[in-house]
């Protein structure tokens, strides 16, 4: 027999299927294959060792500590709000990338790309809705998260610094939302951003209508507002600027700060709790 391939016996195969042995055979040959063992670094059996490995050998999960205090699990304590805020951020990243395939930040195109996206792109409307509603939700959940952190006094030592990072995060969350607001390039967008950026005219020293501007000599074409808009009104250069800020600069900065934020939660001894 040696060397000759065995002819499979139909009755035997049928038996394997019926008894379920074929499943365990297949899963055994899969999980013992080189591809599998090189991808997954430990077994799945529910042992304390695997519970630890599950966290420390996974790049996504290892921002968690391996063990936490029981109280940190209470939904009543955290409201899960930081986590939901992060989830909303991830949703906007994913749906935002899809939107970027179809959207061009050019005065002549932007609005019609939105129309195209809504009416012709499969699931385009859904992607746009999810992006917008997740962004709005993120603003609300980050405020609620902040309120929760305040009410539990979690900004007190040793977590002062993480609160400061948090204030940067809430600021960037609002800026992300605000820069995105312009991109549909419709009436709502243009005028909301006009109202918002008009404030910059009043910047002391640097805005052309602000206090002490006459000592600096700024004009409506060259002042704090025109730096933001790339001109003296909300036009195509502003659209391009807001697009770059919205899709590249602010997400990168906010993402980096989130990583620091999560890291500091661990370094500060995990979620705060009664001592």
């Amino acid at each position: 027999m040696a060397g000759k391939p065995q002819i499979p016996n139909l009755a035997e195969i049928w038996n394997d299927i019926k008894s379920g042995k074929i499943i365990s055979d297949i899963s055994k040959s899969v999980t013992e294959s080189q591809v599998w063992t090189s991808s997954f670094r430990h077994g799945y059996a529910d042992t304390p060792r695997n519970r630890v490995l599950q966290i420390v050998s996974n790049v996504w999960l290892h921002l968690h500590p391996v063990k936490i205090h029981r109280h940190a699990l209470r939904i009543k304590f955290t409201w899960c709000m930081g986590g939901i805020t992060f989830l909303m951020f991830l949703v906007t990243v994913v749906t935002g990338v899809v939107l970027m395939f179809y959207y061009r930040p050019v005065g002549e195109y932007a609005y019609f790309d939105m129309k195209y996206l809504q009416y012709d792109v499969p699931f385009g409307m859904l992607m746009r809705n999810m992006h917008r509603w997740a962004a709005h939700s993120m603003v609300i959940t980050v405020w609620l998260h902040m309120l929760r952190v305040f009410l539990t006094g979690s900004y007190k030592p040793p977590r002062e610094f993480n609160w400061v990072i948090g204030v940067f995060l809430v600021t960037f969350t609002l800026l992300l939302s605000f820069t995105g607001y312009l991109l549909p390039w419709d009436q709502l967008a243009m005028w909301a951003v006009t109202v918002g950026t008009n404030m910059a005219r009043g910047t002391p020293f640097l805005g052309h209508e602000g206090p002490f501007a006459e000592f600096v000599g700024v004009t409506s074409r060259y002042d704090a507002r025109s730096v933001l808009l790339g001109g003296s009104l909300v036009g195509p250069p502003a659209l391009l600027r807001f697009y770059v800020l919205h899709c590249i600069l602010i997400p990168l900065v906010a993402g980096a700060l989130m990583i620091v934020h999560f890291w500091r939660i661990r370094k500060d001894g995990g979620i705060s709790g009664p001592l």
């Binding site: 899960c80 809705n129 006094g153 030592p157 609160w163 400061v164 600021t171 009043g202």
Partner: protein, 250 residues
């Protein structure tokens, strides 16, 4: 005292594995939120109005809803304050909270009785000055940024008499320079007296808390209260500015 009961809970070894106890919670929470978000996105479409048109200004023009609190303050303050200084003060003030609040109690659990002042101040700023102004801005501000009750028609021709005067004028000052000096005295006096009163009342705390902390704390507080006072002065007494100078008005 509730302390012994609390201690007892903590004596039991309280450490749990993150996998599965936390991860499964996060996962569950994520699923629920994603279902809600998906249903919301299927049922309600994001708005898209007509194409941007720089020559057609809508009335009212509103900033995105989360900035409407600031836009509403514009009624009472000039843009340099409402649009620039106020946001900066909010951001800086928030960042300073952990360094100004030296009360060691209430760290890591909900309590009202151990930190009443802190909770009152934060809730007032957040719920009244931020959230309620946003709600007002979204629902009650119509054409010309006038106030309309929900059942009222948004009449773009609504006429509101502008009878506001400056505070020095209301006090009988007619001369520009003297008005300016009076206004300055009111504002500076407000901060000086407020600060002094706080230091006198809390004189025992200065040694522990430190001068700088107390100074920043009371002045940030006075600014917040000052905004409310200005709103009341305008709505109740038709006062436009308190302090008029050639460079800025408050």
């Amino acid at each position: 005292m509730a302390a012994p009961a609390k201690k007892k809970v903590e004596v039991v070894p309280e450490k749990l594995h993150v996998w599965p106890y936390l991860v499964r919670l996060e996962f569950l929470c994520a699923i629920i939120v994603m279902v809600l978000l998906t249903v919301w996105s299927i049922t309600i479409d994001a708005p898209l109005e007509e194409a941007a048109n720089p020559s057609k200004t809508p009335n009212p023009s509103k900033a995105p809803w989360y900035f409407l609190g600031l836009q509403d303050i514009l009624v009472y303050f000039d843009p340099w304050f409402a649009g620039v200084i106020a946001p900066v003060l909010i951001i800086v003030g928030l960042m300073l909270i952990p360094y100004l609040d030296v009360n060691p109690k209430g760290n890591g659990y909900y309590t009202y009785t151990e930190r009443k002042a802190a909770i009152w101040i934060y809730s007032f700023g957040f719920l009244v000055l931020w959230i309620s102004l946003i709600i007002m801005g979204v629902f009650l501000r119509g054409p010309g940024w006038n106030l309309f009750m929900p059942w009222e028609y948004w009449d773009p021709h609504k006429v509101v008499a502008l009878t506001n005067v400056d505070l020095p004028y209301a006090f009988g000052f007619r001369d520009y320079v003297w008005s300016s000096i009076f206004g300055g005295a009111v504002i500076i006096g407000y901060f000086a007296i407020g600060t002094a009163a706080y230091f006198v009342l809390e004189r025992k705390a200065i040694k522990n808390v430190g001068f700088m902390r107390m100074f920043l704390k009371i002045n940030l507080f006075l600014i917040m209260v000052g905004i409310v006072i200005k709103i009341v002065l305008r709505l109740g007494f038709n006062i436009k500015y308190v302090w008029v100078t050639p460079w800025f008005n408050i």
